[in-house]
């Protein structure tokens, strides 16, 4: 027993160092997506919720476990979709610019100011 808790503590400490290391050089533009992305990652609590509900014995455990599964699913799914929407914005930008600036820059310029 004591050994296993020590193993988990080791994992915990190492993961903490990795977490600090990985985000220390993030440009501030990406702070919001990073927050949102890590928000989705802690949705992994869904795995824990599944295990808890899957091993429930009493009615109370079933109710609590079920609630946990619903909430954790909200976290995972919502987290990833929101993050993807944010990052989509970053990616679509250069393309959208080309499409919109090309016509307005060349063909429509003479007519537009008068209107």
């Amino acid at each position: 027993m004591t050994n296993s808790i020590l193993e988990y503590l080791t994992v915990f400490v190492l993961a903490a160092f990795v977490g600090i290391e990985v985000v220390s050089k993030v440009p501030s533009i990406l702070h919001t997506p990073l927050m949102s992305g890590s928000n989705a990652i802690h949705g992994v609590v869904l795995v824990g919720s599944m295990l808890v509900l899957g091993h429930a014995h009493t009615g109370a455990e079933e109710v609590l476990g079920f609630l946990a599964v619903v909430l954790a699913t909200l976290n995972v799914v919502g987290g990833f979709v929101v993050t993807d929407r944010m990052l989509e914005m970053f990616k679509a930008k250069p393309r959208g610019r080309d499409e919109s600036s090309a016509p307005s820059g060349s063909t429509e310029r003479p007519g537009e100011p008068s209107a």
Binding site: V23, M35, G78, F80, M89
Partner: protein, 461 residues
């Protein structure tokens, strides 16, 4: 290889995926791929969990997941980009709630008499931190969604009351640790929810994003605690990653505001500042207002225009019109760029996301450090819905509450145009000297309306 080993291996792959994903999210090039990697890792972890031997209630799990998906997908898809921060808050909150529920359910399922003390400690930590995160995120959501006021809520003796509740939670936690009493654990859960609410109430305005980042880290730690309870390395790794990175991110954010984290959390920023700001008695001084037509001419014949967007632009949903104006000016050969303060909008980087949504090209977005050297050569600084982030008091008034916060030097441009709804001060609640400057003109009204008029005025000029 046994099934159990295989499942654990898959969990390891998922954990590696999360680390790679976080790394990817830190660079503009790989950010989206990072998110996809995390999603694949998550799908793998959830998928193999179904293969766990002795997993019962499978149909109930599936029903719960379907309910979650049916609620989350439309909510996350349909929400406006300006409302993203509160979506992050609420999805973070439910994660904290789930972690607390996992911990407490696991506690109910085991015999308290044979439970080792450290096991109870893990449960306590998961329940406590998870509940604070859940309740705190709910209040943060309400503040951002403007269900309740976004300003700090203070009352006499607030810190004493918070302190007492905090001590009560701690004492109760110790009692549960010794007695392993289920009934007391429920009381603790309720009290932790109360603590979450009263902890968040005095934090308002521009500090809410920092708070959400902190609560995000809390949820990560609560998930790690439930990982200890469940003997799951995956939950420990993922939860700790988020907890550690979230705390670093929170520090980066508060540094960008020139303040320490304890100061943000415990000083009820808004109230303190109203007290000091009012002493100036500067409210009666005249300001110069202008018309959209005049400003349109000023902009159209400028060589370099810097747009300084702020929270007001986000609220007015004016990012698309702002881009129209920038394009109209660029067509006339005016050099235009956006100067983005690190805490502009409702979250660091939020303004970039909003402008990106309006298809503003990357190279026109300049971070504060890049923009400031160019300010003295700018003809016009167009400040749209920003205030504190251009307040010179941060540089030259040592007594000011925002003294020391880095600002965008709009005051160094030849002309300054403020688009404001009213003379009401910004989040910090302090007067902005720049508003009374000789080279400053003000255009009152909704940012979107005013920008539309400016687009028309520039076209006519």
């Amino acid at each position: 290889m046994s099934l159990g080993t295989f499942i654990d291996l898959c969990y390891l792959v998922a954990a590696i995926g999360f680390i790679v994903a976080l790394k990817g999210l830190g660079s503009p090039k790989h950010a989206r791929r990072g998110n996809v990697v995390a999603a694949i890792g998550m799908a793998l972890a959830i998928g193999v969990t179904f293969a766990q031997p002795d997993l019962s209630h499978v149909w109930l799990i599936v029903v719960g997941m379907v309910v979650g998906v049916v609620v989350a997908v439309p909510a996350a898809r349909l929400v406006k980009m300006t409302a993203m921060p509160q979506m992050v808050a609420i999805f973070n909150g439910v994660g904290g709630g789930a972690a607390a529920l996992v911990s407490i359910t696991e506690f109910l399922g085991s015999d308290p008499k044979v439970l080792a003390t450290y096991k109870v400690l893990e449960v306590l930590f998961g329940v406590l931190v998870g509940c604070v995160s859940f309740a705190g995120s709910a209040v943060a959501f309400a503040k951002l969604q403007e269900i309740m006021t976004g300003r700090p809520i203070t009352y006499p003796g607030q810190q004493v009351i918070n302190g007492i509740v905090g001590l009560a939670v701690l004492g109760l936690a110790l009692t549960v640790l010794v007695t392993a009493s289920t009934a007391l654990l429920w009381v603790l859960l309720a009290l932790a929810l109360v603590l979450g609410v009263i902890f968040v109430l005095p934090i308002g305005g521009a500090d809410v994003p920092v708070l959400i980042s902190l609560l995000n880290a809390f949820t990560g730690l609560a998930v790690a605690a439930s990982g200890f309870t469940l003997d799951s390395n995956l939950l420990i790794v993922a939860g700790t990653l988020v907890g550690a990175s979230g705390i670093i991110l929170t520090r980066l954010m508060s540094q960008a505001m020139g303040r320490s984290l304890p100061n943000i959390l415990f000083s009820a920023f808004g109230s303190v500042i109203t007290a000091t700001g009012g002493a100036d008695g500067a409210d009666e001084r005249p300001v110069r207002t202008s018309t959209p037509e005049d400003v349109g001419v000023l902009l159209a014949y400028a060589r370099k225009v810097v747009i300084v967007p702020g929270y007001g632009l986000a609220v007015a949903q004016a990012q698309h019109v702002a881009r129209e104006l920038a394009d109209a000016l660029a067509q006339r050969g005016v050099e235009v760029f956006y100067a983005i303060h690190p805490v502009a909008g409702r979250m660091p980087g939020h303004m970039n996301v909003l402008l990106a949504e309006a298809n503003v090209p990357y190279d026109e977005l300049k971070e504060m450090d890049e923009a400031n050297p160019q300010m003295p050569t700018a003809d016009v600084a167009l400040v749209v819905g920003a205030n504190d982030t251009v307040n010179p008091a941060a540089n030259d008034t040592p007594g000011s509450p925002i003294y020391g916060m880095p600002i965008i030097h709009a005051d160094q441009a030849q002309h300054v145009v403020f688009l404001k709804r009213s003379m009401r001060p910004g989040f910090a609640g302090i007067d902005n000297e720049l508003l009374y400057n000789d080279k400053t003109v003000l255009l009152f009204g909704d940012a979107k309306d005013t920008l539309q008029k400016l687009v028309a005025a520039v076209a006519a000029a």
